[in-house]
Symmetry: C2
Subunit: 134 residues, 2 copies
DNA sequence: CCGGATCCCCGTTGATACTG
DNA sequence: CAGTATCAACGGGGATCCGG
């Protein structure tokens, strides 16, 4: 594709245009489809390693069994996650990132880095906001 | 902060650990607070430039006035967006990215690039999924 | 008139129970 | 174990109302 973007060469303006243009549509599409944050969390949790349904459930705190199922279905439909069911008793189903799915790790990391780095700022801002604002 | 990560030096495993560890909590916190995709979209749309409420509303297709208001409130509380109300008739309210808010553009761009680059893959995957799967 | 608060309706989510 | 079914609760969208 023609989006071989040399990030460091982009101006801030070009970046934001990218997001507001096709990137915006694409982002919206992807996030709309996937259910936003769960996608990133599932993809990150799954990383290169095959994992069973229950293990995913345990490793992603706060996700409900229902939503994990739905998210995994979406990701499967998106071609980001592969699903393998074994005809055993008790049943065993394993999920794994596809090659395309693995490429999502990079953006997820970037977001994670940002979140870690700026979390203190944000919490401080909350304190200030809640104190004065009421 | 100590998270000056040289991304290229991280193994895939280290990356995913980052996400699943503090990054995961931080990401979840940030996304939970902000309302996920809208945050990225608003931040990107706002970029370095002050903008009025209505203009934001027009520039972000598909967002409701209600959700834009809420998202902006969250972003303000997070300290990512500044709000200025002018005592005029008709009223005018302008929003702008704070310095911290501006740092979110980079991760947003990374996600946008990913979305643009892999959208075709995803759409193709949908076709395949929907065709065979029913 | 603009920004946004409120109200109502509906889709999505979560908790729980049940099944292959 | 890995889901599906069901129902209640919550959150979002849209129309409407309102303060400045």
């Amino acid at each position: 594709m023609s989006v071989t973007v040399t990030r460091s060469a982009m101006s801030e303006y070009e970046k934001t245009c990218l997001i507001r243009g096709d990137g915006g549509r694409a982002i919206r599409g992807v996030l709309d489809r996937n259910g936003d944050k769960r996608t990133l969390l599932v993809v990150a949790t799954l990383h290169g390693e095959r994992m069973r349904f229950t293990e995913l459930l345990h490793r992603i705190p706060g996700i409900s069994q229902r939503m994990l199922t739905l998210t995994l279905r979406h990701l499967e439909r998106d071609g980001l996650v592969g699903r393998t069911a074994y005809a055993e008793v008790p049943p065993r189903v394993e999920y794994e990132l596809t090659p395309v799915g693995r490429t999502l790790i990079e953006p997820a990391v970037t977001l994670a880095e940002w979140a870690i780095e700026h979390n203190p700022d944000i919490e401080r801002s909350h304190q200030a906001y809640d104190t004065r604002g009421g």
